[in-house]
Amino acid sequence: MAIAGVAGAAGALFAARPEALQPQALDGLSADPARGEAVFWAAGCASCHADADAKGDEKLVLAGGQRFASAFGTFVAPNISNDVDAGIGGWSTADLANAMLHGVSPDGAHYYPVFPYASYSRAALQDVVDLRAFLATLPADPTPSAPHEVGFPFNIRLGLTLWKALYLDSDWVVTGDLSPEETRGRYLVEALGHCGECHTPRGALGGLQTDRWLAGGPTPDGKGRFPNITPGALDWSKADIAEYLNSGFTPEYDSAGGHMALVVENTAHLPAEDRAAMAAYLKRVAPVK
């Protein structure tokens, strides 16, 4: 009976297995770890997977452990260091691509969307290939990943099949006639930077309300708000926005706080033209008051 149950669940899981990478998708792509480092900073991996107090090279120790409270429970960032057992040292490039682009683990389970694959699904496969090569150069850390503290029914990962059907959409949010700079900015903001994961409000099931794209909303702990960064509220110049992403200083010389300070530590690593592109894109987002 128990065996039948397990087999049934496994069968359902297989049936519900979402689209994943085609085996030949990576053919002809070669990896450049140096480019992968730029992807690493643009994608903000260290903000969640390194220790929150990490400085300098400590940011490259992706042992996990940061905790993220939400209405669905508390999620704990896993170890994605190069350790074969505790981390992802044994992952293939296809494994990383399935994780980032489809939210699927190497054994076919759904990831919770606290891992921002809803944004990363827009990323270019070449960037994932390069990122894989860069991650392989980082230190291995043997700290085991801690389990998420998520209660019923959200501990049933199969439920994420439905979530993905509703909310996983790799189309661009901002469409229309964009300049090359704005297009690059869109890629950085909507895909790798996953800015919308915090700055766009979520519905009851945790899906992003794209009609209020980047318009801000309550923080998961209910104690604060993510700011509206559409032109309807953020009236900084393009240069001001780019400078904020570089130094953390607002035009009034206040400086970024909380998790945004970690984000700026990532964007500060980007080439200046990428920060300018993100700013140019933000100017093109539909204004929401």
């Binding site: 104690k223 604060g224 708000r225 130094s247 953390g248 010389y253 970024a256 706080g257 909380g258």
Partner: protein, 154 residues
């Protein structure tokens, strides 16, 4: 009936809000904290304008701003941070309870800020390149403390 209840709820909400404003705890301390932060930001604005090339470098003006920044970074502000004046308890502040929690290194963060401000004070009058080199570490000190001890949206 529904309207009456709704009206009562609105009145209760407004009443609570008004009472909150009147009885805000530690109002003087929080105002003073925020005033010191604003004062530092004004000096950083003078220096940042030169660093970014928006304003022409002026050694005397840079020195004056860096002197003021150092002064505002070495004040004894310990009496401005009583326990219970955190963002969980008081709406008007973005100062996280972590400042007062076990293992807090807020003192070390403050010291790092003072050291960066001292280095900037020593460099600011010595030319634009010297100013630029010393300005970045001050920004890093601001961000390093805000990252751990200030709400994101504060």
């Amino acid at each position: 009936m529904k309207k009456v209840i709704a009206g009562m709820m609105i009145a209760a909400a407004l009443g609570t809000g008004a009472a909150f404003a009147d009885d805000e705890p530690f109002e003087m301390q929080i105002d003073a904290r925020q005033g010191i932060m604003d004062y530092r930001a004004l000096q950083m604005g003078v220096l940042g304008g030169m660093v970014k090339g928006e304003v022409e470098y002026d050694a005397a003006a840079a020195q004056k701003a860096a002197d003021a920044l150092l002064a505002a970074s070495t004040l004894d502000a310990s009496m401005l941070w009583p326990a219970g004046s955190d963002s969980d308890a008081v709406m008007e502040t973005a100062a996280l309870p972590a400042i007062w929690a076990e293992g807090s290194d807020i003192g070390a963060k403050g010291k790092a800020m003072a050291e960066a401000a001292a280095a900037l004070q020593a460099a600011a009058g010595g030319g634009l390149d010297a100013l630029k080199a010393a300005f970045g570490p001050v920004g890093a000190a601001c961000g390093d403390c805000h990252k751990t001890y200030r709400k994101s949206d504060g």
